[in-house]
Symmetry: C2
Subunit: 113 residues, 2 copies
DNA sequence: CCCATTCATCGACGGTCATCGATGCTTCTG
DNA sequence: CAGAAGCATCGATGACCGTCGATGAATGGG
């Protein structure tokens, strides 16, 4: 099934790495958290106040705080307190693991083995 | 891979699209299903028999069948029956939605586009 | 024609999650 | 110092998920 050349992008995913990636994916497998990440992506590295998410998502303050905590524990976002407010931003490169695993399969260039 | 002008990420993610993507992400937010997708990625488009997954994942046949059903309902894999066996393969382009949403942020108005 | 093989489905069980109101903590303001 | 504002945490609740054994359905072989 798997040939001589180890496919580059479909790199082997052992049980350990699968469990690790599962944590990140579970953090992203929620519509509210997807919208949060999308907002932060569009913020282009800038921090966003918690009070910005609340009206945008239409959730209670407690729920928004919960979602941000989940994302933070997954290493996807970072918290920074200024005064009574909290600002969150994307962790640089945190989404690379997701991008890498779903990269297209090997180039299928048959020859060079 | 991604052209400079394709604003995949940074693209607004409204509530509808977020819910849609949530379905795909939930299907992928499981270590067993991640390993299944990884196996199929490495199979480079070829179909893989159910009986191949079972020993690889170390799960009961019922559980493997369940995971494959979840992936199929999310539109990520496709089933093809041959005799008493079932073969599964990745749906072409099904992972593009995932790749797109997490693409790097827009170049912040970097000139030429 | 009968049996073995392969897979999908069902029912059940234990665990986890999303959401909310209430509460406590920290910081700013008057 | 007292009050208000912003946020995190707690406890509860209802829903969903992963796993398995058992059962059913379809197919191929002797």
């Amino acid at each position: 099934m798997i040939n001589c050349c180890t496919p580059l992008a479909g790199s082997s995913l052992d049980a350990g790495r699968a469990a690790e990636l599962e944590g990140v994916m579970k953090a992203l497998a929620d519509r509210q958290r997807l919208r949060i990440v999308n907002m932060l992506l569009r913020a282009a590295g800038e921090s966003v106040c918690v009070c910005e998410f609340e009206p945008f998502l239409g959730l209670s303050q407690a729920t928004v705080s919960h979602h941000l905590k989940v994302l933070a524990e997954a290493g996807l976002v970072e918290r920074e307190g200024r005064g009574t407010r909290s600002y969150y931003s994307l962790v640089d490169g945190a989404l690379d693991a997701v991008r890498g695993v779903f990269a297209p399969a090997a180039p299928a260039g048959a020859g060079s083995c």
